[in-house]
């Protein structure tokens, strides 16, 4: 697609939404294929590995719980990075990026909450306790929903993007709280055993399926994120075209009245 009109040259090449659409169209099939493959491998490994001597088969919940919990935080981090892009460089793709990521983050957080509850019932004997880790994840979920609501409450897309960027950055305080809540408050929840400075302490029997599933989840996120960004770009183009059409129509009738 050649685009030589006004205003384009000043924007970086990669930033061009048109470029992004073209590039992502080429990449997406590959991403989908690799994600599907990894999920197949991960699920196979997950269900053929042995159960834990303490936790029994419930340890298999880990293979969905932990990746989705990680992703719920990573998604927010991606949004925070995009938010910086929005505020500092006023990058249109950054706007689109954090807007598109919010529903995905909410979904992954919901998965972490649901699977965590399903794991908690056999392990702790209750679906839900108000401990620091669980509550901070719940708060993260609320923050995702709040951001979605904020984006829907404003019609001016770029202003909505800048304001939610501010809130995203302020809310980033919550991420370290989630991550380190198990260390700061003594809780029921498991302390970190994979993502540690001194290397993972988890048994390799569980580590490998977990890692594969984690990569699969991450790729799934990026695939969906790319797709959602494309949708958002299209949505904005459509509304811009509608506006222009309406304006032209308005001009014609006004001109007709004037003559």
């Amino acid at each position: 697609m050649t685009d030589t009109s006004l205003g384009i040259n000043k924007i970086g090449d990669l930033a061009n939404p048109t470029r992004f659409l073209a590039l992502s169209a080429r990449l997406l099939p590959w991403m989908v294929a690799i994600t599907a493959g990894l999920f197949a491998i991960g699920l196979y490994m997950g269900f053929t590995s042995e159960g834990d001597y303490q936790q029994g088969d419930t340890v298999r919940i880990m293979y969905v719980h932990v990746p989705s919990a990680w992703l719920s935080m990573m998604c927010y981090t991606v949004m925070a990075l995009s938010a910086i892009g929005t505020l500092v460089w006023r990058h249109p793709l950054a706007d689109v990026s954090h807007k598109a990521a919010a529903p995905l983050g909410a979904a992954f957080t919901l998965i972490a909450l649901v699977t965590g509850s399903l794991w908690g019932k056999p392990m702790w004997g209750t679906w839900w306790v108000w401990d620091a880790r669980l509550t901070s994840v719940f708060v993260l979920f609320l923050m995702y929903l709040g951001l979605i609501a904020l984006n829907r409450a404003m019609d001016d897309a770029s202003k909505a993007a800048r304001l939610s960027a501010v809130l995203i950055l302020v809310g980033f305080v919550n991420i370290p709280i989630i991550k380190f809540s198990v260390d700061w408050w003594n809780t029921l929840h498991q302390p970190a055993s994979v993502m540690r400075l001194d290397g993972p302490t988890i048994h390799p029997e569980f580590l490998w399926p977990l890692l594969v599933m984690a990569i699969a989840f991450t790729l799934l996120f990026f695939t969906l994120h790319t797709m959602a960004m494309r949708n958002e770009i299209w949505r904005r183009r459509i509304s811009a075209q509608r506006r222009m059409a309406a304006r032209q129509a308005g001009r014609e009738t006004v001109a007709g009245v004037a003559t």
């Binding site: 685009d3 030589t4 009109s5 006004l6 159960g51 029994g56 088969d57 419930t58 298999r60 919940i61 969905v64 719980h65 989705s68 529903p103 995905l104 979904a107 919901l110 998965i111 649901v114 699977t115 399903l118 794991w119 019932k121 056999p122 799934l220 969906l224 797709m227 959602a228 494309r230 949708n231 299209w234 949505r235 183009r237 459509i238 075209q241 509608r242 222009m244 059409a245």
Partner: protein, 57 residues
């Protein structure tokens, strides 16, 4: 398998949420593309095209 309900329950829940997500993104994309096509069919062009026609006027 011990605790089958919880294990399968969590996998099913995950699958439901994920497929819901995927379906939403996918269908949204389809709808947007359809709208774009409809607009193009209605003769509304992108800016570059519009700018060129204005120059030739």
């Amino acid at each position: 398998m011990t605790h089958a309900f919880y294990v399968y329950g969590s996998y099913v829940a995950t699958a439901l949420i994920l497929f819901g997500m995927i379906a939403w993104v996918w269908l949204d994309g389809r709808a947007r593309q359809a709208e774009l096509k409809a607009l193009e069919a209605a003769g509304i062009r992108r800016r570059s095209a519009a700018a060129q026609t204005r120059e030739t006027e």
